[in-house]
Symmetry: C2
Subunit: 213 residues, 2 copies
Protein backbone atom coordinates (compact mmCIF):
# COMPACT_ATOMS: atom_id res chain seq x y z
CA UNK A 1 0.00 0.00 0.00
CA UNK A 2 1.24 3.50 -0.82
CA UNK A 3 1.82 6.51 1.39
CA UNK A 4 -0.61 9.34 2.10
CA UNK A 5 0.96 12.72 1.50
CA UNK A 6 0.16 16.37 1.04
CA UNK A 7 2.03 19.40 -0.25
CA UNK A 8 0.59 22.76 0.70
CA UNK A 9 1.82 26.32 0.25
CA UNK A 10 1.51 28.68 3.18
CA UNK A 11 2.46 32.26 3.94
CA UNK A 12 5.13 33.33 6.43
CA UNK A 13 2.26 33.83 8.88
CA UNK A 14 1.04 30.28 8.29
CA UNK A 15 -2.05 30.75 6.11
CA UNK A 16 -2.95 28.27 3.35
CA UNK A 17 -5.54 30.71 2.03
CA UNK A 18 -6.05 34.41 2.50
CA UNK A 19 -8.98 36.19 4.15
CA UNK A 20 -12.44 36.51 2.54
CA UNK A 21 -12.52 33.40 0.34
CA UNK A 22 -15.22 33.61 -2.34
CA UNK A 23 -16.14 32.17 -5.72
CA UNK A 24 -14.17 35.02 -7.27
CA UNK A 25 -11.21 34.54 -4.91
CA UNK A 26 -11.18 30.81 -4.03
CA UNK A 27 -7.83 31.24 -2.26
CA UNK A 28 -8.89 34.42 -0.47
CA UNK A 29 -7.37 37.87 -0.86
CA UNK A 30 -3.80 37.64 -2.17
CA UNK A 31 -3.99 33.85 -1.79
CA UNK A 32 -2.89 33.29 -5.37
CA UNK A 33 0.52 34.75 -4.49
CA UNK A 34 1.11 31.54 -2.49
CA UNK A 35 1.46 29.65 -5.76
CA UNK A 36 3.69 31.91 -7.85
CA UNK A 37 6.72 29.73 -7.13
CA UNK A 38 5.01 26.52 -8.32
CA UNK A 39 3.32 27.96 -11.40
CA UNK A 40 6.80 29.09 -12.51
CA UNK A 41 8.09 25.49 -12.50
CA UNK A 42 8.43 23.39 -15.67
CA UNK A 43 7.10 20.32 -13.85
CA UNK A 44 3.91 22.16 -12.85
CA UNK A 45 3.45 23.48 -16.39
CA UNK A 46 3.78 19.93 -17.78
CA UNK A 47 1.33 18.55 -15.17
CA UNK A 48 -1.15 21.11 -16.43
CA UNK A 49 -0.65 20.28 -20.09
CA UNK A 50 1.47 23.31 -20.88
CA UNK A 51 5.05 23.97 -21.92
CA UNK A 52 7.74 26.27 -20.57
CA UNK A 53 8.60 27.09 -17.00
CA UNK A 54 11.89 26.79 -15.19
CA UNK A 55 13.87 24.24 -13.22
CA UNK A 56 14.85 25.37 -9.72
CA UNK A 57 15.77 23.76 -6.40
CA UNK A 58 11.99 23.33 -6.00
CA UNK A 59 11.76 20.98 -8.97
CA UNK A 60 13.01 17.73 -7.40
CA UNK A 61 11.22 18.17 -4.07
CA UNK A 62 7.93 19.16 -5.72
CA UNK A 63 8.25 16.35 -8.25
CA UNK A 64 8.91 13.81 -5.51
CA UNK A 65 5.92 15.09 -3.50
CA UNK A 66 3.50 14.83 -6.41
CA UNK A 67 4.82 11.85 -8.36
CA UNK A 68 3.27 8.42 -8.01
CA UNK A 69 -0.18 9.72 -7.05
CA UNK A 70 -2.89 7.08 -7.50
CA UNK A 71 -5.82 8.86 -5.84
CA UNK A 72 -6.71 12.17 -4.23
CA UNK A 73 -8.67 13.14 -1.09
CA UNK A 74 -10.08 16.63 -0.66
CA UNK A 75 -12.54 18.52 1.54
CA UNK A 76 -15.76 19.86 0.10
CA UNK A 77 -14.68 23.44 0.77
CA UNK A 78 -11.71 22.88 -1.53
CA UNK A 79 -13.92 21.22 -4.16
CA UNK A 80 -16.12 24.26 -4.46
CA UNK A 81 -18.03 27.15 -2.92
CA UNK A 82 -21.43 25.37 -2.80
CA UNK A 83 -22.73 23.99 0.53
CA UNK A 84 -25.57 21.69 1.62
CA UNK A 85 -27.49 19.46 -0.81
CA UNK A 86 -26.10 19.21 -4.34
CA UNK A 87 -28.38 21.07 -6.73
CA UNK A 88 -28.54 21.63 -10.49
CA UNK A 89 -26.51 22.90 -12.22
CA UNK A 90 -24.08 20.54 -10.46
CA UNK A 91 -20.77 22.07 -9.40
CA UNK A 92 -17.93 19.99 -10.87
CA UNK A 93 -14.91 21.66 -9.27
CA UNK A 94 -12.77 24.69 -10.04
CA UNK A 95 -10.72 22.97 -12.70
CA UNK A 96 -12.83 22.88 -15.89
CA UNK A 97 -13.70 19.78 -17.97
CA UNK A 98 -10.25 18.20 -17.64
CA UNK A 99 -9.06 18.61 -14.03
CA UNK A 100 -5.31 18.20 -13.41
CA UNK A 101 -5.71 15.17 -11.11
CA UNK A 102 -5.97 12.39 -13.75
CA UNK A 103 -7.01 10.02 -10.96
CA UNK A 104 -10.02 9.25 -8.76
CA UNK A 105 -10.70 12.11 -6.33
CA UNK A 106 -12.58 11.41 -3.08
CA UNK A 107 -14.47 14.48 -1.89
CA UNK A 108 -15.55 14.62 1.78
CA UNK A 109 -19.16 15.74 2.10
CA UNK A 110 -22.22 15.25 4.26
CA UNK A 111 -24.44 15.04 1.17
CA UNK A 112 -24.59 12.00 -1.11
CA UNK A 113 -24.04 12.40 -4.83
CA UNK A 114 -23.33 10.07 -7.76
CA UNK A 115 -19.72 9.88 -9.00
CA UNK A 116 -18.88 12.53 -11.58
CA UNK A 117 -16.62 11.44 -14.40
CA UNK A 118 -14.53 14.15 -16.01
CA UNK A 119 -12.12 14.14 -18.95
CA UNK A 120 -8.52 12.97 -18.61
CA UNK A 121 -9.03 10.21 -16.04
CA UNK A 122 -10.44 12.27 -13.15
CA UNK A 123 -13.60 10.98 -11.46
CA UNK A 124 -15.02 12.77 -8.42
CA UNK A 125 -16.40 10.37 -5.80
CA UNK A 126 -18.44 11.81 -2.94
CA UNK A 127 -17.81 10.16 0.44
CA UNK A 128 -20.39 10.72 3.16
CA UNK A 129 -19.13 8.34 5.84
CA UNK A 130 -16.08 10.15 7.11
CA UNK A 131 -12.41 10.79 6.45
CA UNK A 132 -11.21 7.32 7.46
CA UNK A 133 -13.51 5.75 4.89
CA UNK A 134 -12.34 8.26 2.27
CA UNK A 135 -8.71 7.26 2.89
CA UNK A 136 -9.67 3.57 2.77
CA UNK A 137 -11.35 4.03 -0.62
CA UNK A 138 -8.50 6.19 -1.90
CA UNK A 139 -5.81 3.68 -0.89
CA UNK A 140 -7.88 0.89 -2.50
CA UNK A 141 -8.12 2.88 -5.71
CA UNK A 142 -4.44 3.87 -5.62
CA UNK A 143 -3.13 0.36 -4.99
CA UNK A 144 0.66 0.55 -4.76
CA UNK A 145 0.58 4.23 -5.57
CA UNK A 146 0.25 7.11 -3.09
CA UNK A 147 -2.80 8.99 -1.89
CA UNK A 148 -2.49 12.76 -2.17
CA UNK A 149 -4.41 15.03 0.19
CA UNK A 150 -5.18 18.13 -1.84
CA UNK A 151 -6.59 20.21 1.04
CA UNK A 152 -7.98 22.36 2.45
CA UNK A 153 -6.44 23.08 5.81
CA UNK A 154 -9.26 21.48 7.84
CA UNK A 155 -8.97 18.24 5.88
CA UNK A 156 -5.18 18.12 6.34
CA UNK A 157 -5.62 18.74 10.09
CA UNK A 158 -8.24 16.01 10.34
CA UNK A 159 -5.94 13.60 8.50
CA UNK A 160 -3.03 14.40 10.86
CA UNK A 161 -5.24 13.97 13.95
CA UNK A 162 -6.54 10.67 12.61
CA UNK A 163 -3.03 9.33 11.94
CA UNK A 164 -3.94 9.10 8.25
CA UNK A 165 -1.23 11.38 6.80
CA UNK A 166 2.34 10.11 6.42
CA UNK A 167 4.10 13.13 4.93
CA UNK A 168 3.44 16.85 4.61
CA UNK A 169 5.54 19.10 2.41
CA UNK A 170 5.12 22.66 3.65
CA UNK A 171 6.00 25.25 1.02
CA UNK A 172 6.55 28.42 3.03
CA UNK A 173 6.30 31.58 0.96
CA UNK A 174 7.82 34.91 2.10
CA UNK A 175 4.66 37.00 2.26
CA UNK A 176 2.08 38.04 4.83
CA UNK A 177 -1.61 37.23 4.28
CA UNK A 178 -2.74 38.63 7.63
CA UNK A 179 -5.75 36.34 7.97
CA UNK A 180 -7.52 33.35 6.47
CA UNK A 181 -7.11 29.67 7.12
CA UNK A 182 -3.98 28.45 8.94
CA UNK A 183 -2.61 25.12 7.78
CA UNK A 184 -0.98 23.80 10.94
CA UNK A 185 -3.61 24.69 13.50
CA UNK A 186 -6.08 23.05 15.86
CA UNK A 187 -3.54 20.33 16.64
CA UNK A 188 -2.38 19.19 20.08
CA UNK A 189 1.11 17.95 20.96
CA UNK A 190 -0.34 14.45 21.39
CA UNK A 191 -1.92 14.37 17.93
CA UNK A 192 1.25 13.41 16.08
CA UNK A 193 4.97 12.97 16.42
CA UNK A 194 6.53 15.32 13.88
CA UNK A 195 9.84 14.49 12.21
CA UNK A 196 11.72 16.90 9.94
CA UNK A 197 12.87 14.95 6.88
CA UNK A 198 14.23 17.57 4.50
CA UNK A 199 14.66 21.33 4.19
CA UNK A 200 15.25 23.04 0.84
CA UNK A 201 15.52 26.72 -0.02
CA UNK A 202 14.50 27.80 -3.51
CA UNK A 203 13.57 31.08 -5.20
CA UNK A 204 10.58 32.52 -3.33
CA UNK A 205 9.89 29.48 -1.18
CA UNK A 206 11.25 27.40 1.69
CA UNK A 207 10.33 23.71 1.59
CA UNK A 208 10.08 21.74 4.83
CA UNK A 209 9.17 18.06 4.51
CA UNK A 210 7.61 16.59 7.68
CA UNK A 211 6.87 12.94 8.43
CA UNK A 212 4.24 12.01 11.03
CA UNK A 213 4.47 9.10 13.43
Amino acid sequence: VGKAKAQISISADGYAAGPNQSEEHPLGENGEDLHSWVVALDVWQRQHGREGGETTASTPIYTEATANTGAVVMGRKMFGPTRGEWTEPLWNGWWGDEPPFHAPVFVLTHHAREPQEMEGGTTFHFVTDGIERAFELAHEAAGEKDVSVAGGAATVQQAIRGGLLDELLVNQVPLLLGGGERLIDNLDPGDAKVEQVEVVGAPGVAHILYRFG
Copy 2:
Protein backbone atom coordinates in the same frame (compact mmCIF):
# COMPACT_ATOMS: atom_id res chain seq x y z
CA VAL B 1 24.48 52.45 12.33
CA GLY B 2 23.93 48.71 12.75
CA LYS B 3 21.02 46.47 11.83
CA ALA B 4 18.13 45.43 14.05
CA LYS B 5 17.64 41.71 14.06
CA ALA B 6 15.90 38.91 15.90
CA GLN B 7 16.25 35.14 15.98
CA ILE B 8 13.30 33.26 17.43
CA SER B 9 12.46 29.57 17.67
CA ILE B 10 8.92 28.51 16.83
CA SER B 11 7.02 25.24 16.60
CA ALA B 12 5.69 23.72 13.38
CA ASP B 13 2.36 25.31 14.32
CA GLY B 14 4.02 28.71 14.68
CA TYR B 15 4.20 29.24 18.45
CA ALA B 16 7.15 31.03 20.08
CA ALA B 17 5.95 29.87 23.49
CA GLY B 18 3.59 27.12 24.60
CA PRO B 19 0.25 27.48 26.38
CA ASN B 20 -0.09 28.44 30.05
CA GLN B 21 3.06 30.52 30.58
CA SER B 22 3.92 30.92 34.27
CA GLU B 23 6.85 31.69 36.55
CA GLU B 24 7.52 27.94 36.67
CA HIS B 25 7.15 27.57 32.88
CA PRO B 26 8.26 30.91 31.37
CA LEU B 27 8.06 29.40 27.88
CA GLY B 28 4.72 27.69 28.51
CA GLU B 29 4.00 23.98 28.45
CA ASN B 30 6.60 22.11 26.37
CA GLY B 31 8.03 25.48 25.31
CA GLU B 32 11.54 24.50 26.36
CA ASP B 33 11.57 21.88 23.60
CA LEU B 34 11.80 24.80 21.16
CA HIS B 35 15.37 25.37 22.27
CA SER B 36 16.84 21.85 22.35
CA TRP B 37 18.56 22.44 19.01
CA VAL B 38 20.31 25.63 20.18
CA VAL B 39 21.33 24.43 23.64
CA ALA B 40 23.08 21.53 21.89
CA LEU B 41 25.32 23.94 19.93
CA ASP B 42 28.92 24.69 20.94
CA VAL B 43 28.42 28.38 20.11
CA TRP B 44 25.44 28.63 22.51
CA GLN B 45 27.38 26.83 25.23
CA ARG B 46 30.27 29.29 24.83
CA GLN B 47 27.90 32.29 24.87
CA HIS B 48 26.64 31.00 28.21
CA GLY B 49 30.12 30.49 29.70
CA ARG B 50 30.14 26.73 29.32
CA GLU B 51 32.09 24.20 27.31
CA GLY B 52 31.06 21.33 25.04
CA GLY B 53 28.24 21.16 22.54
CA GLU B 54 28.35 20.32 18.87
CA THR B 55 28.86 22.02 15.54
CA THR B 56 26.02 21.53 13.05
CA ALA B 57 24.60 23.32 10.02
CA SER B 58 22.93 25.58 12.59
CA THR B 59 26.27 26.88 13.87
CA PRO B 60 27.11 29.42 11.15
CA ILE B 61 23.58 30.78 10.74
CA TYR B 62 23.02 31.08 14.49
CA THR B 63 26.46 32.62 14.96
CA GLU B 64 25.82 35.16 12.21
CA ALA B 65 22.41 36.03 13.71
CA THR B 66 23.79 36.64 17.19
CA ALA B 67 27.26 38.02 16.51
CA ASN B 68 28.00 41.72 16.62
CA THR B 69 25.20 42.54 19.08
CA GLY B 70 25.69 45.91 20.75
CA ALA B 71 22.36 46.27 22.52
CA VAL B 72 19.16 44.35 23.15
CA VAL B 73 15.45 45.29 23.11
CA MET B 74 12.86 43.15 24.87
CA GLY B 75 9.24 43.30 26.01
CA ARG B 76 8.38 43.36 29.69
CA LYS B 77 6.60 40.01 29.41
CA MET B 78 9.87 38.47 28.29
CA PHE B 79 11.81 40.23 31.06
CA GLY B 80 9.67 38.66 33.75
CA PRO B 81 6.31 37.57 35.11
CA THR B 82 5.66 40.72 37.19
CA ARG B 83 3.20 43.36 35.93
CA GLY B 84 2.28 46.92 36.88
CA GLU B 85 4.42 49.09 39.17
CA TRP B 86 7.85 47.72 40.08
CA THR B 87 7.87 46.62 43.71
CA GLU B 88 10.46 45.25 46.14
CA PRO B 89 12.03 42.76 45.91
CA LEU B 90 12.80 44.03 42.39
CA TRP B 91 12.62 41.45 39.61
CA ASN B 92 15.94 41.44 37.72
CA GLY B 93 15.13 39.01 34.90
CA TRP B 94 15.17 35.26 34.48
CA TRP B 95 18.90 35.02 33.98
CA GLY B 96 20.55 35.27 37.42
CA ASP B 97 23.29 37.72 38.48
CA GLU B 98 25.20 37.48 35.20
CA PRO B 99 22.70 37.51 32.31
CA PRO B 100 23.97 36.22 28.95
CA PHE B 101 23.47 39.56 27.14
CA HIS B 102 26.74 41.33 28.13
CA ALA B 103 25.27 44.54 26.71
CA PRO B 104 22.69 47.19 27.55
CA VAL B 105 19.16 45.76 27.44
CA PHE B 106 16.21 48.09 26.83
CA VAL B 107 13.02 46.72 28.42
CA LEU B 108 9.68 48.08 27.18
CA THR B 109 7.41 48.96 30.09
CA HIS B 110 4.69 51.40 31.10
CA HIS B 111 6.28 51.83 34.54
CA ALA B 112 9.43 53.87 35.15
CA ARG B 113 12.36 52.29 36.98
CA GLU B 114 16.03 53.16 37.50
CA PRO B 115 18.58 51.26 35.36
CA GLN B 116 19.64 47.96 36.91
CA GLU B 117 23.29 47.06 36.49
CA MET B 118 24.09 43.34 36.51
CA GLU B 119 27.38 41.44 36.33
CA GLY B 120 29.16 40.77 33.06
CA GLY B 121 28.27 43.99 31.25
CA THR B 122 24.48 43.71 31.20
CA THR B 123 22.49 46.75 32.34
CA PHE B 124 18.69 46.72 32.16
CA HIS B 125 17.23 50.07 31.08
CA PHE B 126 13.49 50.59 31.40
CA VAL B 127 11.91 52.55 28.54
CA THR B 128 8.47 54.03 29.11
CA ASP B 129 8.06 56.12 25.96
CA GLY B 130 7.45 53.46 23.36
CA ILE B 131 9.18 51.00 21.07
CA GLU B 132 10.56 53.61 18.64
CA ARG B 133 12.34 55.36 21.49
CA ALA B 134 13.65 52.00 22.75
CA PHE B 135 15.15 51.27 19.33
CA GLU B 136 16.62 54.79 19.17
CA LEU B 137 18.32 54.32 22.53
CA ALA B 138 19.46 50.82 21.63
CA HIS B 139 20.99 51.92 18.31
CA GLU B 140 22.72 54.82 20.10
CA ALA B 141 24.16 52.42 22.67
CA ALA B 142 25.13 49.85 20.01
CA GLY B 143 26.86 52.34 17.70
CA GLU B 144 28.18 50.42 14.70
CA LYS B 145 27.00 47.16 16.19
CA ASP B 146 23.56 45.55 15.77
CA VAL B 147 20.49 45.74 17.95
CA SER B 148 19.03 42.38 18.86
CA VAL B 149 15.32 42.00 19.58
CA ALA B 150 15.10 39.24 22.16
CA GLY B 151 11.29 38.92 22.14
CA GLY B 152 8.62 38.11 22.96
CA ALA B 153 6.29 37.67 20.03
CA ALA B 154 4.30 40.88 20.62
CA THR B 155 7.49 42.96 20.67
CA VAL B 156 8.76 41.37 17.44
CA GLN B 157 5.39 42.05 15.78
CA GLN B 158 5.39 45.65 16.96
CA ALA B 159 8.93 46.09 15.60
CA ILE B 160 7.92 44.65 12.20
CA ARG B 161 4.82 46.87 12.02
CA GLY B 162 6.91 49.89 12.95
CA GLY B 163 9.50 49.18 10.26
CA LEU B 164 12.11 48.83 13.02
CA LEU B 165 13.26 45.25 12.36
CA ASP B 166 15.63 44.52 9.48
CA GLU B 167 16.07 40.76 9.75
CA LEU B 168 14.26 37.87 11.42
CA LEU B 169 15.78 34.40 11.65
CA VAL B 170 12.93 31.95 12.19
CA ASN B 171 14.10 28.67 13.70
CA GLN B 172 11.26 26.28 12.95
CA VAL B 173 11.25 23.20 15.15
CA PRO B 174 9.40 19.99 14.20
CA LEU B 175 6.99 19.76 17.11
CA LEU B 176 3.42 20.82 17.89
CA LEU B 177 2.70 23.11 20.85
CA GLY B 178 -1.04 23.34 20.19
CA GLY B 179 -1.44 26.79 21.72
CA GLY B 180 0.42 29.75 23.16
CA GLU B 181 1.84 32.80 21.49
CA ARG B 182 2.30 32.81 17.73
CA LEU B 183 5.37 34.66 16.45
CA ILE B 184 4.22 35.80 13.01
CA ASP B 185 0.74 36.97 13.82
CA ASN B 186 -1.34 40.16 13.95
CA LEU B 187 0.40 41.43 10.81
CA ASP B 188 -1.23 42.72 7.65
CA PRO B 189 0.12 42.34 4.10
CA GLY B 190 0.86 46.07 4.07
CA ASP B 191 2.91 45.99 7.27
CA ALA B 192 6.12 44.80 5.62
CA LYS B 193 7.61 43.48 2.43
CA VAL B 194 9.10 40.10 3.30
CA GLU B 195 12.16 38.78 1.49
CA GLN B 196 13.55 35.27 1.97
CA VAL B 197 17.33 35.57 2.31
CA GLU B 198 18.48 32.09 3.31
CA VAL B 199 17.10 28.63 4.14
CA VAL B 200 19.12 26.06 6.06
CA GLY B 201 18.13 22.62 7.31
CA ALA B 202 19.90 21.28 10.39
CA PRO B 203 19.26 18.53 12.94
CA GLY B 204 15.89 19.24 14.57
CA VAL B 205 15.40 22.69 13.05
CA ALA B 206 14.73 24.53 9.79
CA HIS B 207 16.18 28.05 9.61
CA ILE B 208 14.51 30.67 7.43
CA LEU B 209 16.13 34.11 7.36
CA TYR B 210 13.74 36.90 6.38
CA ARG B 211 14.60 40.50 5.55
CA PHE B 212 11.96 43.22 5.86
CA GLY B 213 11.56 46.19 3.57
